[in-house]
Amino acid sequence: MVVNLCSILGIVNENRKLLSAKYIVEGISLMNDRCNGLGGGFAAYGLYPEYKDYYALHILLKDFELKDQIAEMLKDYVNIYKDEEIETRNVERISQDYIPWRFFVDVPERYTSDADNYIIDLAMKINNTGGALVISSGKNMGVFKAIGYPDEVARLYKLENYKAYMWLAHGRYPTNTRGWWGGAHPFSILDYSIVHNGEITSYGTNKRFLESYGYKCSYFTDSEVLAYLWDLLVRRHKLPIELASEVLAPPFWEQIERMPPEKRRIIEALRMTYGPAMVNGPFGIVIANGSGLTGTAGNGTMVGLSDRIKLRPLICARKNGTTFMASEESAIKAVCKNPDNVWAPHAGKPTVAMVNGDV
């Protein structure tokens, strides 16, 4: 058996029909041979409709005492509307290294004009305290992750209790850092979550590029930069999804030279400006973006993308308004027997599934 690195799966319903966790868990579990039990995780969108105006901070706490300390810290920066432990059950193979907690918060009025950046800064501050990790910080969404196979992580977090219109899942086979809860995917910042299969050979370049824009990488793993790059390009620099994808997986210069002049000028400008944001090495990624943020391209989308020479697999399928993106077709077929359409996206070209309607 060839053991590849990691498994990824994304499922989204364009009509915001809420799907139970059953499908995503079954699909990702089918690819357990792609991971080794050292990390599994999920992102779910549409989780907290009654708190949809609040940033939902999912925070992993090293111990219970930290909870009060973090709550105190949060009070200095934001208004806490509600907080509670994220319910878990004992799972034999998972050691409870962290206590997951959720806080629903909003930003004090004088900071609301720049609330999203304010929340990012806050998340990075908390990550730097040691012992506490903000694993997601968007609205009406959340990330659940731990060390274990994905199905074990699903049982740990009692995912059967949640419904979402958009799901991401990841099974990890760590190659560049040890297995730890923080290193499990998805990586998430604000409303963006990302699952990644691959190894980024340009990590050092990407990380140092991001640092000059104020991002701090604190998860000791290459995949983290993808979430920040997407945030920088799509939310802060307002690039359309197609062009943000062309930054991560740019066309070759030879291809650029054959483009029509206006397009060529744009792509050249992107490559020259965002050269250090190019993601090199093999990758297949699925990026989910909720709709909690204002004025941002790509609200309510799921994007699948591979590296520009497609060194990692990515397969997409559609059935009745639901789109699937996965490492393997078998994972899709496990939960959707007869899709209307199955296709392998071209190397470096994004597949975009849009979600209709308002939040």
Binding site: T175, S202, H237, K238, W253, E262, M278, N280, P282
Partner: protein
């Protein structure tokens, strides 16, 4: 009192049986080390510089050069060189002149840096099967790209600064016409055109012959302002202000009047036979704000169509200086390390002033990033680039591109005999003597330099492919793909590189 200083460094051994007395060696020796005496070739060992010209020209392979066995008693501190220098100066009362680069410090940090490759978790990329890109743009980059939606199409609202487009991240350094021959200049310019890169005019202006290649030439403006006129600025691909060079930081230049031939006189715009003196500082740049004014003046003069580069020697405070240069509007900064070569420099300066380019480069790149202005200027590293491994390591430390000087001259035939300052270069490179110059064929020389650049490009692609990278921009500043081996903790910290094994 001629003692040690007259002990010749080299000995010319002539195989008398093989020698057929053709005298070709005598014709070829530009240093007068071989003469015709008593119907045979006689060697004057004290004049030999071991340039290898006679060896390579002898049709019978009858000549061998040897290092003279030491006749002095050994001393670890008072090396032969140290003693030789003292004797020479006690005879002449003058500055010791030297050519090429620093000879005192043998450690090259590049040699203690190791590159990374992919195994298992990540596929290496085979450059014979997959494209690997080396294209590099030198110049100021915007911090973000702004697009505007116009119906179905997008409009680019960000105006890009002029940039140099290089097909390979290796440029040919600034070497002046005067220091080297017009044939050497032409060979380098042709090679730059052939490989899609640039060469530097140096500070001596641009010979008429070179204008057809000027879109691949970076024209230099140095403290002497030799040969600077509107057409010169207009012709170049970019303009480079030379503040200093690694082989002689803080030191000016002096081309003796005897070398100012009519062609050099015309190109440099100075009288025939007059010494060409480059002052140590630019006398219109005594501060950073003066530099900003010159940068802007040159941009204005070239209608904002050409990037303006600033070259400095790597000195102790290089990071702060480069921050200032970047803010003065330079589109690229050339950092010339303390091992950089030259035609002539005081030996004491060459060997003792400045810092290694690896450290300078690393600290400048880091400093500009910390200040959030790294995108506003490109960094070009020079002084010690000997092979494609050095190129890759410099880029991984943070350079956008590198420049090569000595390596390009070696490709033209230079054997590093270190006598450039004598003007007697037997290979027709560092000389203005018409007979010696005729030994260098610019077309053949260009092919050799082009071959060198091609070979390094192929090797760079192999290095990138092994590291699982298919475009040079993903190696740039990627210090994660370097490890230090045999370097101390502080050096590693400055380089921003982990020790091997970690």
């Amino acid at each position: 009192m001629e003692m040690y200083s007259s002990v010749p460094e080299f000995r010319v051994d002539i195989d008398r049986q093989a020698c057929r007395l053709c005298k070709r060696c005598i014709e070829n020796c530009s240093f007068g080390a071989l003469e015709w005496r008593d119907n045979k070739v006689k060697a004057f060992n004290d004049r030999c510089v071991a340039c290898q010209r006679c060896v390579s020209m002898c049709p019978e392979d009858a000549i061998a050069l040897r290092r003279t066995p030491s006749v002095m008693s050994a001393h670890p501190i008072w090396t032969e060189n140290a003693r030789r220098d003292v004797f020479t100066q006690s005879r002449t009362g003058a500055i010791l002149l030297a050519s090429t680069g620093n000879e005192l410090h043998e450690q090259v940090i590049f040699d203690n840096l190791l590159l990374d490759a992919c195994q298992v978790t990540n596929p290496a990329i085979d450059p014979l099967r997959e494209p690997i890109e080396l294209r590099t743009y030198i110049g100021r980059k915007p911090r973000f790209v702004e697009l505007e939606e116009l119906g179905d199409s997008l409009r680019l609202n960000t105006k890009l600064s002029p940039a140099l487009k290089l097909e390979i991240p290796i440029m040919i350094a600034q070497m002046s016409y005067g220091a080297i021959s017009v044939e050497a200049h032409e060979a380098l310019a042709r090679a730059a055109v052939m490989r899609g890169t640039t060469m530097g005019s140096g500070e001596g202006g641009l010979h008429k012959k070179l204008y057809p290649y000027a879109d691949h030439i970076i024209v230099q403006v140095a403290s002497g302002r030799f040969g600077v006129h509107p057409a010169y600025l207009e012709a170049g691909a970019a303009v480079e202000i030379k503040i200093g060079q690694g082989a002689k930081p803080g030191i000016g230049g002096h081309l003796p009047g005897t070398k100012i031939t009519d062609e050099i006189s015309e190109t440099r715009m100075i009288p025939i036979g007059a010494d060409a003196i480059s002052p140590a500082p630019h006398h219109d740049i005594y501060s950073i704000e003066d530099l900003a004014q010159l940068v802007n003046a040159l941009k204005e003069a070239t209608r904002y169509k050409k990037p303006v580069l600033v070259k400095i020697a790597a000195v102790h405070n290089v990071a702060a200086i480069c921050s200032g240069i970047c803010r003065a509007g330079a589109d690229a900064i050339v950092i010339d390390g303390f091992r950089a070569g030259t035609g002539a420099t005081p030996k004491v300066i060459r060997d003792n002033v400045g810092i290694p380019v690896e450290l300078a480069l690393a600290s400048v790149d880091q400093r500009l990033r910390e200040e959030g202005i790294r995108n506003e200027t490109s960094i070009i590293a020079s002084g010690t680039i000997r092979n494609s491994g050095d190129v890759a390591k410099a880029i991984a430390l943070g350079a956008d591109a590198v420049k090569i000087g000595t390596a390009a001259l070696i490709a033209l035939g230079c054997t590093v005999c270190k006598r450039c300052y004598t003007g007697k270069c037997a290979w027709g490179i560092a000389t203005q003597d018409p007979e010696l110059r005729s030994r260098l064929d610019p077309v053949e020389g260009a092919q050799r330099v082009s071959n060198l650049l091609l070979a390094w490009s192929i090797e760079l692609k192999e290095i990138l492919g092994a590291a699982g990278i298919n475009s040079i921009e993903s190696l740039r500043g990627n210090r994660d793909r370097l490890r230090g081996y045999g370097l101390d903790h502080t050096t590693l910290e400055i380089l921003g590189v982990q020790p091997a094994g970690s």
